[in-house]
């Protein structure tokens, strides 16, 4: 793959998005580049789970509202128990 500029969605790095879903919604770590799997069903499912838990519109997409929410300061404990 050509070297991507730092892949971002809105103003949040893909790494941070991936870490958010891993840390708080137990997204499985599989070593693949997140930018390539962001539309895969596991990731979409986790985005939907997060949007549902936090009371947002459930789109499964990394839309602006979702980005905004992910940037907000929060507690470090997962939102769902593993």
């Amino acid at each position: 793959y050509p070297l991507n500029p730092a892949a971002t969605a809105g103003t949040m790095s893909m790494d941070r998005i991936q870490k958010y879903l891993e840390d708080f919604y137990h997204l499985e770590k599989d070593g693949k580049q997140f930018v390539r799997r962001r539309d895969s069903s596991p990731v979409v499912t986790k985005i939907q789970e997060m949007q549902r838990f936090l009371g947002m519109k459930v789109t499964g997409k990394l839309d602006d509202d979702t980005m905004e929410m992910m940037k907000k300061p929060r507690c470090g404990i997962p939102d769902v128990s593993s």
Partner: protein, 380 residues
């Protein structure tokens, strides 16, 4: 609201805390005050009390740190994760870690220490996150919270009281009345102070004592003099009356009711799904048709079931009947040699009810220490 797996909670309502170090962002007395206020948020709605230690190991150790601080959950610099905490238990469990890369303040110009600490203490007491956006236990920090009039949401209160019950001096019912008839005195009341009264079953429930008789029961809180008489149907309309036995499994905040070969489980006024079940699923032989009395020994995590002149012991951890039973009651409980109507454990004693008498049994001395009238708890 939600709980950590296996619903860990503090066994002892007297919880200790210690402020291990301070943030340079605030004066130490202001940190002390914010922590104290954040703990009071929870002690106001539960029987919990919080005692501060200045050294040694406290249940809740509160510390400020940055990045990697030794628990495999490094902080992430300013913003992002503000803090984390661990559920009730030994060592790191119960502890609160605050990210000192945040700007901690008394107001909301930075990250408000009171608000964040109150949330983290929810975890230290056993609550996980809530999806109720108005709840303190909602995971995302809300800088618009009105700190001058802060109140827990009902979701927070319901969650923490499911774990610890009500404040000990609260007049609130641990089992909310389900019908208006709750206030009317039930017709045909049994005479509370009839010297010959006997009970079908007795149990504890979230710090109260319940005495069951036909269609009625008395509720006695340790903090009130007068017992309250209620109709069973006002709390558990779908349960039969005239129980044979009842006991509280305090580790799960449940009460089990037995009648003939069936038993039910309730949490507060909610009957648990999947009940009634057959008592033989607990491991009783088919020869046992009903249970006379039962109680849960918290210390041993075992439930004792009494049938005629013998008893069985059930291991609540392994969820199975223990081997070597039944045993004769009189062998292990000398002096308790009558057919038992009911039994419960209180203040370290076992109280066996038989007809209009009850025997106070000291399990350490292995002897009956007092014989009382059955209704001695009802302020007669």
């Amino acid at each position: 609201f939600s709980f950590f797996p296996y619903m860990p909670k503090w066994r002892n309502n007297e919880v200790t805390y210690r402020i291990v170090n301070y943030t340079p962002d605030m004066n130490e007395p202001d940190v002390d005050a914010a922590i104290e206020r954040a703990l009071k948020v929870w002690s106001d709605v539960t029987p919990l009390t919080f005692t501060r230690l200045s050294e040694g190991e406290a249940d809740i150790m509160i510390s400020f740190s940055v990045k990697d601080h030794g628990d495999f959950l490094p902080f992430d610099g300013p913003g992002g994760v503000l803090a984390h905490a661990y559920p009730p238990g030994p060592k790191i469990n119960g502890d609160v870690h605050l990210d000192d890369d945040e700007k901690w303040t008394e107001d909301t110009t930075g990250i408000n220490l009171f608000l964040t600490a109150a949330h983290e203490f929810g975890h230290s007491l056993g609550l996980l996150h809530s999806s109720d956006t108005a709840a303190l236990m909602y995971p995302v920090y809300n800088s618009n919270t009105d700190l001058t009039r802060f109140r827990l949401s009902q979701d927070d209160i319901d969650g923490i009281q499911s774990l610890y019950g009500y404040p000990s001096d609260s007049p609130d019912d641990p089992v909310p009345p389900t019908t208006s008839t709750e206030q009317e005195k039930p017709e045909g009341d049994p005479e509370t102070c009839d010297p010959n009264i006997s009970f079908d079953a007795v149990s504890t429930l979230r710090g109260e004592m319940l005495f069951f008789k036909d269609r009625h029961f008395w509720r006695k809180s340790i903090n009130t003099i007068e017992p309250q008489l209620h109709l069973l149907s006002a709390y558990w309309p779908s349960l039969p009356s005239g129980f044979d036995a009842a006991y509280e499994l305090t580790t799960k905040d449940m009460v089990f009711f037995f009648k003939e070969s069936k038993f039910w489980s309730v949490r507060g006024s909610d009957i648990q799904p999947g009940y009634p079940k057959d008592i033989h699923t607990l491991g009783f032989p088919r020869t046992v048709k009903k249970i006379d009395a039962a109680f849960f020994d918290k210390g041993k995590q075992k439930t004792y079931f009494f049938v005629n002149d013998v008893y069985w012991r059930y291991d609540e951890k392994r969820q199975s009947m223990e081997h070597g039973y039944p045993r004769n009651i009189v062998t292990d409980f000398p002096g308790v040699d009558k057919n038992i109507d009911a039994v419960f454990e209180a203040f370290g004693f076992f109280y066996f009810f038989s007809g209009s008498f009850q025997f106070e049994f000291d399990p350490n001395a292995k002897m009956v220490t007092r014989t009382l009238k059955s209704n001695s708890w009802l302020n007669c």
